[in-house]
């Protein structure tokens, strides 16, 4: 079929790239985890709990990075009607939601020992929560249609509307929190990070990014193959 003409090219190069990505991900994550758990020093204030940072902060970065990728591929999909971009956006969403959830859960686990509570309505925390809902809304919308192509198109429009709104939401949430709760006790500290903590953190961050790329390629490849299979079966029904 016409629309699966260029996906063939994608299947070719992604198939070659995939093993390299997977290997690099494994190495970086193993090294990063080792450094984070055994080499990096405990914090003089926070103790061993600080090791959560090596998961929490990369996850937080990935949460917004993946949304950016999703919005960019949605724009490409809408403007050039590029089917691979559509699939990239759709398959990114659950991964982004996963990173966001990881950020929330690791932050909560960290908050319990640090602040004595699992959750506070801090501006940064709240905007992560809203981002999580934007992801969920996107996923729900894409899957809410009888026709997969319709869901893809609707999702692309939503992702772009969301990208306009995200800064507005972030800005208003910041404002809201400073308004209601000036000089909060619970501010996420920005500790001056020592090099011994920074290196593991950067390695973990690159590892997370490659992990995302690997998973994305795997998911896109299987989505493309599923679509092909579906089209073949439908064609059979029509021929019969």
């Amino acid at each position: 079929m016409f629309r699966f003409a260029n996906p063939n090219r994608f299947m070719n190069w992604s198939g070659k790239l995939l093993p390299w990505c997977a290997a690099a991900t494994a190495i970086l994550l193993i090294v990063g985890t080792y450094l984070a758990l055994f080499v990096a020093p405990p914090d003089y204030q926070q103790g061993e709990a600080v090791r959560i940072m090596y998961v929490h902060v990369p996850a937080a970065w990935m949460a917004s990075f993946v949304y950016g990728v999703m919005a960019a591929s949605s724009a490409v999909a809408l403007i050039w009607r590029h089917p691979v971009a559509d699939i990239a956006a759709q398959q990114s969403a659950p991964l982004g939601a996963g990173f966001t959830l990881l950020c929330l859960v690791s932050g909560s686990l960290w908050g319990e020992p640090m602040w004595g509570t699992w959750w506070v309505w801090d501006a940064r925390l709240t905007s992560v929560l809203v981002l999580f809902f934007l992801y969920l809304g996107y996923i729900a919308l894409v899957n809410a249609f009888d026709e997969p192509t319709r869901g893809a198109r609707a999702g692309a429009i939503l992702a772009l509307v969301g990208v306009v709104n995200l800064p507005i939401i972030k800005f208003s949430v910041d404002w809201w929190n400073t308004l209601h709760q000036p000089a909060s006790v619970f501010r996420i500290g920005a500790p001056t990070i020592a090099a011994s903590m920074l290196w593991p953190l950067l390695i973990m961050a690159v590892g997370f990014t490659l992990f995302y790329v690997t998973l994305l390629l795997v998911r896109m490849r299987s989505a493309l193959m599923a679509a092909k299979l579906r089209a073949l079966r439908l064609q059979e029904f029509q021929a019969a």
Binding site: F2, P148, Q235
Partner: protein, 222 residues
């Protein structure tokens, strides 16, 4: 009725043409390599078994569904270049009647005609035997009466191209005759008609296009 005359010997000055059309619904190719041409005052009857793609082709012609491949043109100008002009020149009556239960038949027709610049609502209602029904809300209408009201839009405001999907569904013989008369008058004024049907219709000089002939073969479509 002549079978697919347009691919063999195309009319000299065609008004509404399509070449190499293919249509995808969902993820399936419904037809491919389809050409048609409707000259001024011409009529094209779409036939074919259930599921052969008559409705899909009409939607493509209206510009509702973009064709997967091929080109549509009006007087030689591609539709893609000015979709709004195409919308202004067509009437599309699909399976659904676009009626509001709480609005009266006259209000409903007045709205649709007004959105296209206005027209003679009372005359259009009379043309389809609905004068008595004019003041009643659409929820009181039977299936056939609803269909008549939808068809009355055709004559309430003029448009050169009529696209009708199984227009005689639910109509009794009297209403079918009224529709045929309206189509004949429209064609005398130089208008084009494309319609799909399963029943034989009395349309003098109409060309017929069988969708079954354009079923895409597997393997070819890639």
């Amino acid at each position: 009725m002549i079978r697919r005359p347009m691919s063999d010997n195309p009319p000299s000055s065609p008004d509404f043409t399509g070449t190499g059309l293919a249509c995808r619904r969902g993820e399936r190719l419904v037809f491919a390599g389809l050409d048609f041409a409707v000259p001024a005052s011409g009529a094209l009857v779409l036939v074919g078994p259930n599921g052969s793609g008559k409705s899909s082709l009409l939607r493509v012609m209206a510009g509702l569904t973009p064709p997967e491949a091929g080109r549509l043109a009006w007087d030689g100008v591609a539709l893609k270049e000015d979709p709004q002009a195409h919308r202004a020149r067509l009437h599309f009556i699909g399976h659904s009647d676009a009626l509001k239960p709480v609005l009266s038949a006259a209000e409903m027709l007045g709205f649709w005609a007004g959105m296209r610049g206005g027209g003679d609502v009372a005359a259009a209602l009379a043309r389809f035997g609905l004068s008595a029904a004019a003041p009643f809300p659409c929820r009181y209408l039977s299936a056939g009466q609803r269909r008549r009201l939808a068809l009355a839009r055709l004559v309430a405001s003029p448009a050169p191209l009529w696209l009708l999907d199984e227009p005689t569904t639910g109509l009794d013989t009297e209403a079918t005759a009224q529709l045929m008369a309206a189509i004949a008058a429209h064609r005398r004024d130089g208008g084009c008609v494309v319609l799909s049907t399963h029943a034989p219709l009395d349309l003098p000089g109409a060309a017929s296009l069988s969708l079954a002939d354009f079923r895409p073969r597997r393997g070819l479509a890639a």
